[in-house]
Amino acid sequence: MTLLIGALTLGAILALLALGVYISFRIFAIADITVDGSLTFGAAVTGILLVKYGVNPLLATGAGFVAGMLAGTVSGILQTRFRINPLLAGILVMTALYSVNLHVMGRSNIPFLGAVTLSSYCERIGHHLFGAAAIDLAGWEVSATDLTVLLLMGLLVGLTALALWAFFRTDLGTAMRASGDNPQMVEALGGNVQRYRVFGLALSNGLVGLAGSLWAQYQNFADAQMGIGMVVWGLASVIIGEALTAAPSIGYAIAGAIIGSVLFRQLVAIALSFGLNPNDLKLVTAAFVFVALVLPDFLAKYGARANRRPA
């Protein structure tokens, strides 16, 4: 049960990452590798504020979001002002952020032991909410803190999703979506496509930075390596979500990204408990995304051939 709650919580936290990747990958059709750097950047900024300066955890978490936005803005400006290929722009910012993160943290890993984090908030809230350190949930003993963390993360993800859904249905949000779909048309209708793209990448990486910040507080440390391969993780979540919802509407897509993230984390937890070597995790994730990207075309081709055979 503890394992399940842990996997659900991490799935919820990484759903913010999935939402960020959804914005860059599906709305703007960019494979934005900045994510690998901005996740760590969010974690690093939050971490140093908590550990070294004892800043209020809510503020420190907000700072993680802003840090991510900053990284996304730089990527966006490289792509628009300087006309650098989006993939390369992402690689540049990600690489640069690696050094920046080491400078921010002062070393490659900072433990949050003793610092007041959102987790310690949750401990207090959990005690108030359930009146005990552990409670009985359908026969399993569950830590009140763990449950509170999960509930609050679920709430946060739900609110974020709702805000995104509403935003992408406003005049500004609709124009941003259209600028990924048909930039020429948006320009002809007076939309500044370049500005939309910068803002979209900022928003995307802001969510990723927030995910990094929450993840670090959940696991109680920030690490310079924690962002590696996370863009692929986000892609996997988005793709699973699309397979499940299969609807082009923005509401379904957002819900899909969240469900995809939670489900993917469950799958990973199950695979690990069945003895998957953690070292193979990134390889398996990459292979999964590869198959998911190639499968539809392959099925279409194979299906067409199978249909032709009887004729």
């Binding site: 935003f167 406003t170 005049d171 124009a175 259209a178 779909d181 048309m185 209708l189 007076g190 939309g191």
Partner: protein
């Protein structure tokens, strides 16, 4: 007619060279001067590579001029980026895929058009008021689309999309409407429908319009002035009175004339080459 009235469009000495200094160098604008009075409907004719589409793109701001000046409605827009000029200009492209966002619904596409050149904020898109108005005006198209407001626009036919794009371009009254061979990619029946719609909207709203076409028939039937382009320059300019007497044959003769001159150029060049090389 009215000399004191300033023209809606004033282009002077417009030049543009693409891929300058390479083997692909093209010069689609070689000093174009053109004035268009408010409310006039100008047809632009010309062969392939004559620079007629480039002229429209230059006005719309798809690129900036190398030399020359463009004024719209009394404002010097020469240095304005495309999205800024959109506050004055409505556009329909040749490719039906260019004017609409395919994965978005009809209503969403119009919510973008309803904010052309305006600040886009956090108002709901499309608003309820827009939806009601949209339903009414799409009904006027008689294409049966009024009940498909939430259909992705990409699933519609080219003719339907061009009709909707035209409606979008004129949703907020533009100071200038640019039509770039907007029926060239359509089947004859859809093309006729879109042309009829164009005529109706332009006449009713008295829009200043610049329309590029390949079709002599359209050129003769529509508009009140014909500008004929060749090699990046304005070759003929038929006023309303001249145009009224003009027939398709006259235009074809004009083109034949251009072709003969072209051939003459080529044979002259060959002759020179034969003599001196």
């Amino acid at each position: 007619m009215n000399a004191t009235l300033q023209p809606m469009v004033r282009i002077s000495g417009a030049c543009k060279t693409f891929h300058a200094g390479t083997i692909n160098e093209v010069r689609p604008m070689r000093g174009i001067d053109l004035e268009i009075a408010e409310g006039s409907f100008v047809i632009v004719l010309g062969g392939n590579g004559s620079g007629k589409s480039t002229l429209l793109n230059a006005i719309a701001g798809s690129f900036l001029l190398d030399a020359g000046r463009i004024e719209l409605d009394g404002r010097d827009v020469t240095a304005w980026p495309e999205y800024r000029r959109a506050s004055l200009i409505g556009r329909v492209f040749q490719n039906p895929f260019s004017g609409t966002a395919p994965t978005m619904t009809i209503a969403e596409n119009f919510s973008l058009a309803a904010k052309r050149g305006l600040m886009r904020g956090l108002g709901w898109a499309p608003s309820r008021r827009l939806r009601d108005e949209l339903r009414e005006r799409v009904f006027e198209l008689k294409m049966g689309l009024e009940d498909r407001m939430d259909t992705a626009i990409g699933s519609l036919s080219g003719g339907q999309r061009q009709a909707l794009t035209l409606l979008m371009a004129t949703w907020l009254r533009p100071r200038l409407l640019l039509l770039d061979e907007h029926t060239a990619a359509l089947d004859p029946k859809s093309a006729d429908q879109v042309i009829a719609l164009t005529d109706r909207i332009v006449t009713r709203e008295r829009l200043t319009t610049l329309m590029v076409t390949h079709s002599m028939q359209q050129a003769v039937n529509l508009g009140d002035r014909i500008v004929m382009m060749h090699k990046g320059q304005v070759l003929h300019d038929f006023s309303a009175t001249q145009k009224r007497r003009l027939r398709v044959d006259d235009l074809l003769a004009c083109f034949e004339d251009i072709r003969r001159r072209e051939l003459l150029d080529e044979s002259a060049a060959e002759m020179l080459q034969g003599q001196y090389v």
